[in-house]
């Protein structure tokens, strides 16, 4: 899929662990792990909002478009 989840990069920049982020935004670690690996069909706007608030970033920092994939 050409949509690439770059949440890992943002988490590394903010030096935030998955466990902490999951607790902060109220998401299970399993779901966060699925999201990080891109094994999901979609992301809800409210999840995106929470992620952006927790990582102090914009939605574009979390997902990217790569037409080659």
């Amino acid at each position: 899929m050409p949509i690439v989840v770059t949440l890992d990069v943002m988490m590394a920049r903010r030096k935030m662990r998955g466990k902490d982020l999951a607790a902060k935004i109220g998401l299970s670690e399993t779901n966060l792990s699925l999201l990080r690996s891109g094994k999901v069909k979609g992301v809800r706007f409210d999840t995106l909002e929470k992620l952006c608030a927790a990582l102090d970033c914009k939605p574009g920092d979390l997902i990217d478009f790569d037409p080659v994939d």
Binding site: L34, L35, V40, K41, G42, V43, R44
Partner: protein
């Protein structure tokens, strides 16, 4: 997956209905054996011992065939029990639920078809009027079975949509 209060309520209702259908199945099976099959089976046994096996087998087979629609209804009750037992966990929109629902519809259709095919030859000499009423009841049962089968297909689609929805985080 999180279990909500609604899921728990569905689970409790499912358990109660599963118990009810379990009891109905047990009572139905007991009545089928005691009221319909026991005496012919006994006669068949004595006839076999007496040597008249061909006639005895024929009349016993006739009773057995006559009991097939009821046996199919018992199968429907068992399927309903399995269906509601599956609701206990609160996971209603599942592939297994749609399969069980379709199976319940199948049993009802089978029972109706068997009743329509077998009823005219059943012993007892039914009047035309009561035969017609029975036919109507069997047709209605068959239609309900077909409707439940369709519902099973709808459940199957709903389960697929839910599975996709669960992948949206």
């Amino acid at each position: 997956m999180m279990t909500t209060l609604d899921d728990m309520a569905v689970g409790r209702s499912g358990r109660r209905l599963a118990d009810l259908f379990g009891w109905l199945f047990g009572a139905g099976a007991f009545l089928l054996v005691s009221e319909v099959l026991y005496r012919p089976l006994k006669v068949f046994g004595f006839s076999l011992a007496g040597g008249a096996s061909a006639d005895a087998f024929g009349s016993f087979a006739e009773v057995l065939v006559g009991a097939l629609p009821t046996a199919a209804l018992l199968g429907a009750m068992w399927s309903a029990r399995a269906l509601f037992r599956g609701f206990e966990g609160g996971d209603v929109l599942a592939v297994e639920t749609s399969r069980r629902l379709s199976r319940l519809g199948d049993w009802l259709v089978v029972s109706a078809v068997l009743a329509i095919l077998i009823a005219p030859t059943a012993p007892g000499g039914l009047s035309i009027e009561s035969n017609f009423q029975g036919l109507l009841a069997d047709l209605a049962l068959g239609c309900v079975g077909l409707a439940i089968r369709l519902l099973g297909r709808v459940f199957s689609s709903a389960a697929a949509i839910k599975a996709e929805h669960d992948q949206i985080i």
